[in-house]
Structures are given as C-alpha cells and as structure tokens.
Symmetry: C2
Subunit: 211 residues, 2 copies
DNA sequence: GCATATCAATACGTTTGCGTCTCGGATCGT
DNA sequence: ACGATCCGAGACGCAAACGTATTGATATGC
C-alpha cells in the first residue's frame, strides 16, 4: 500500500524483509517536518535524519518527495475524537471547539495552512487531504446536523453541506486568516448558538419579499 | 518609499536618476509571478524577465527576495470597489459576492492562499498583507454593519468584528478550502440572509437557559 | 565634455537539495 | 553457510536559484 511492491513474479520475498516500523517512522517524520517549514522547506535529508533512516530507505518506498508528502498527508486519516455530548447543540459546540484547539496544537492543524498553498500547485495532494482528513470530519458535522433536523431543531429543507459551511467557516476563518488575536474557547458556542438561530425551522418570510 | 534612499547627504542626485516606472513594473511582475507559483517558485530571474529589467535593477531597489515580496504585497493596497447598493442587506451581498468573484479572477485572490503558508514562516509578510489588504476590506463590512445597527436591523450590542467573521468566514471557507465545486453567485445572498436573521434584534431568550 | 549613476544582459561563485550510488553490516529464506 | 535484500551513513553528479560583478550603452548635472 505504501511503497512499491518489488516482487516481479518469480523470486518472492528473497533476502531481508523491509522493516514495517520504518514506514510509520518515515511518514511521521514527514508530517513533523511538514508541520514546521512547509512543503518546500521539507527536505529528504531532514526527513531521513528525523526518522533515523538513510535516504535510500525512503527512496526504496516512495518514488520521490511529492509522493512521500501525498502519502504522509493521506496517512493522517481520521482521529477517533469521540464526541458523546448529550444534545445536538453541545455536540456541535464540541466539534467546533475541537477545530479551534487542534488548529494550533495538533499535527493536522499545523499542516493545514501549508497545504492550502501547496495544494494550489499539486491538486492530487489537496484531493487526498480532502478525502482522508477533511471529508471524514465533515461527515461528523453532517450527522449531528441531520439529528438536528430530525428533532425539529433545524429547518426540514436545510442544505446540510451549507450548514456545515456556516458553522466551520467562521471558525476556520478566525484560526487561519484572522488569527490575531487567537480566538478563545467561547467562540464555538457563540457561533453554534447564532447559526442554530438562523437555521431554526421558522417560516422564511424574509425570502418572499426580498427587498 | 519603495527602495532605499542612497543620498547620504553631500552628493545629491548625481548621475542618471532611477526610472520611476521600473518600480511599478517590478512590483507588478512580482505579484504576477507570485500569483501562479507561490513564494518559493518565485525567482528573481522570472521577475526580472517579466518586468523587462535586469536583476541588478531589482537589487538596486530591494535588499532581497523577501523584502521584494513584502513590498509587492503591501502595494496591493485597496481597490476602489465602490459599493453603492441601496440597502444594508444588498451592500453586504455585494461585498460578499466581490470576495467570491475576486478569489479566482483578481491578483489578490490568487495570491491570498499562497500567503497563508508563506505567512507562517514570515510574520512580517502576513502582517503587511493584513494591514494593507485585509483590514481595509474589513472596514467596509464594519461600516455597513454599523449602519445595520443604526437602522435597528441588527442587535444593538452586536460585536461587529464577530459579525464580519460570520459573513466572511463561510464565503472564504468555500473559496479557499472547500472549493470543489466552486460556489455560485447565489451563495452571497444566502449567507447574508441567514446571518442577518441570526443577528436580528430579537430577545436572546436562548441565552438565559444555555443547555 | 566629463564624472557619475542608471540601464539590460549575462557571466560568475556559492549554496542548497534532489535522486543515485557505494559501502560495510544486518537479517531473512533455503 | 550463502546469496539476496534491507539497513544507516554519506559521497557524488546535477540542476536551480540567490546575490554579485562585469560590460557596454544611456541619461543627468555641473
């Protein structure tokens, strides 16, 4: 899965096998180097040194720097992050607050802004990151929001994807772009309460007479 | 302003003066190269070639690549962008829609995601960009929102900065991060209508019994 | 007219980093 | 035991790009 299968057919598993732990060590080192320094500051020498392996060991598994980063980003996957809040509102707050906390503490949070520019030149990189990291987290929001619709807390015809944008957008904006000063832990509840109010199941009378 | 004044006192304006048009040509070429390729793909040779000047002409004005990019980004400034919409709601829609359109057409829009990662390593760069480009646009939102408060369309105790985040956040999020597929021109009105609904001056009964 | 500073073009030294290769040693199957 | 493959360490060739220096031409002040 990670590297290239090198058995051409006849001679299978000849000689010393690859150490599986090194795959994880290389990918982890790649993420750490990527977190501080970004894609261009990431050098194969730095990854090799941090992982405690030789460069040849990396090139034996990955064709080059680009594929290494792509695989490393994809390996981020989805953390468990079990939100067992009681109600829809509190679960949304917990999910949003997780974004705020993770954005400057976790590896994924530090890597995120780097990928925004690297992804512009490397669509494959951005796609993998979106599928492996962003989409699973997004699905969590959608699931909770769906419960909100079922409980008549949200409009029945609500576009759930759009609702996620309304919630995550301001939080991501504050953390990525307008991150001075950094938002406090009260921001999540503030956003959720306001957005829930906007998406509450009330007659949309303001749409009938749009100015 | 742009380069370094080189007259130490005695000999003033001796020899051929610098061509002022070249300053603008260099900065403009820097922005164009920065727009496609990003900070690291930006080479002095490329800037010189695109501006039609020699490298020495650039180094005569800017100490190095870093300062060149900082000055170029700061030179973006604020476009006029006169929004003369009739009401508060329509002006907000126009401002938000401008963000969406600019994010993939204008120079500033293309440069923005590049700066997010470059700014992580270069705080000065991000600070100048924020002051010169982001803050002026933000002030426009605040001005319109203040009118909304005056017209009793928004809560009297509204945090205007937070309100801007609620509006700009989802739009920026859709354009920068979740830009597949790209949002359509109807998104701006959708966001504004929903956020205005959330921030309308109604008794905040849901805050009294939080949980 | 002459010194001085600018101009475009370009050669130059230096640094950096990718990807390959070599080396001695370690670890597997047979 | 033996060959094959992996391992860490690092030398190597190569290319890219920064910043400087040079060259011949051009423009300005005195």
């Amino acid at each position: 899965m990670t590297g290239t299968a090198q058995c051409p057919g006849g001679s299978r598993q000849l000689g010393r096998p690859r150490d599986p732990k090194l795959d994880a060590a290389i990918l982890d080192a790649t993420l750490r180097v990527l977190a501080d320094g970004g894609y261009t500051a990431l050098t194969m020498e730095a990854v090799a040194a941090l992982a405690g392996v030789g460069k040849a060991t990396i090139y034996r598994r990955f064709p080059g720097k680009e594929q290494l980063v792509v695989e490393a980003v994809a390996s981020l996957g989805e953390p468990p992050e079990p939100v067992r809040g009681a109600g829809v509102r509190d679960e949304l707050v917990a999910l949003l607050e997780a974004i705020r906390r993770k954005s400057d503490s976790s590896l994924a949070g530090k890597i995120f802004p780097r990928l925004l520019s690297a992804g512009a030149d490397n669509p494959e990189l951005m796609r993998r990151y979106r599928e492996q990291v962003l989409d699973p987290r997004r699905a969590r929001f959608v699931a909770v929001l769906q419960r909100g619709v079922d409980e008549r807390l949200l409009r029945a015809d609500l576009d759930l994807g759009y609702a996620v944008d309304l919630l995550v957008g301001p939080m991501a904006y504050r953390n990525l772009i307008r991150n001075d000063p950094r938002p406090g832990p009260e921001l999540a509840a503030r956003i959720v309460d306001d957005i829930l109010l906007a998406l509450a199941p009330r007659p949309a009378h303001h749409l009938l007479e749009q100015s």
